[in-house]
Point group: C2
């Protein structure tokens, strides 16, 4: 069901694929065997042609009249998204945000396993958060090497973000999921995925201001 | 310094403006009086023409040879982003993620004041998190009305996301900042800003997989 030669996929399409997966898991739970793009679109408030195009970009095509077999479509999406290979990640920063990320139940289903946390706070080191060990930051490089971890999650205060990113890079982490609002300076070989709440808030505020101009409350 | 007639600004530009603001606050703290696009670009690993265009889209132009006066540029950005008017928000969901959002120090500077939290858990109701009261969810509509709150932050488990969104909408919240991975069904007049970690993780994983194909670890 998955074509071999898949062109580069766009970021908006990629961002929608987990939504389709979530919808399909729910449909499977309700005992559904087949779905059409129209079903998926209706469930997610999208248009059917968008769904068909997105799935096609991921190398997945349905059958005319029949649509998609739910379990096959689920596993094709998981394969495309790489969720069948669980990637290990280390989290640095055992504050509230770190705890929130450790407690987020979705990651495991989505191929991410946050195996441990690192912090500098002696009151946290040696403890556990959501069942995961908290280690001293100076153990980071050794443990990355020993466990073949490729992803570092950065959830530290702004002021130390670049320093901790450099510790990650020296430890040969390949991708940094950056939850600080700092723009990190990294070598081109390192992938940085920014989760910038300040940027999102700017978009939200602007949209709200425009909406209030059109129809004041 | 801010032009009156500003065209619709693009989302990527809007997302970069808070970064410029962060850079400028730092420059101001270091006693800098003037900056050029080249300075800003160098500090944020961008190209100068991008910075000049972004600021121009926000209605802000520098002076030839002189550049931008730092304090004026800061206040122009704050005005454009609406940060001089603090918007009140209510958060629903006093779990780890809710606590992380309440503890995030940047929001106040960025014009967002999370004034209180709501939850259904009797052990949390009546308490405080990061100094903010936790109220029972059934008080939500009354308090929104009394305090003129326009923004609702949704940090509840997936299973109740749509129900809580509907409580927000009935209470006449105008914008929902959605930290669940649920695609909410809302009337067109309601602004929804999705903060979807599953989607971001999909992008990160794909980029990592492509990078590992190019240069295996």
């Amino acid at each position: 069901m998955v074509r071999k030669n898949v062109a580069r996929i766009s970021v908006p399409t990629l961002r929608r694929l987990p939504m389709y997966h979530g919808y399909l898991k729910k449909a499977a739970g309700q005992g559904r065997a087949f779905v059409s793009c129209t079903h998926i679109a209706a469930g997610l408030h999208l248009v059917p042609i968008q769904v068909r195009k997105d799935l096609h970009s991921a190398g997945i095509d349905g059958k005319p009249r029949v649509g998609y077999e739910v379990p096959v479509l689920i596993s094709s999406l998981e394969k495309f998204l790489g969720w069948n290979n669980l990637s290990k990640a280390y989290l640095v920063g055992a504050g509230d945000l770190g705890a929130a990320l450790l407690g987020y139940r979705g990651f495991n289903d989505q191929g991410l396993d946050i195996v441990a946390t690192f912090d500098n706070d002696p009151r946290k080191i040696g403890g556990k958060i959501h069942g995961k060990n908290v280690y001293a930051l100076d153990k980071f490089a050794d443990l990355v090497k020993r466990n073949g971890v490729l992803i570092g999650i950065l959830a530290v205060p702004r002021g130390v973000a670049q320093d901790v990113a450099e510790i990650m890079i020296r430890a040969r982490i390949r991708a940094i999921w950056n939850f600080t609002s700092v723009r990190l300076l990294v070598p081109p070989s390192i992938i940085v995925q920014d989760e910038n709440l300040a940027s999102s808030l700017a978009v939200l505020s602007k949209r709200l201001a425009q909406s209030l101009q059109r129809s004041p409350s």
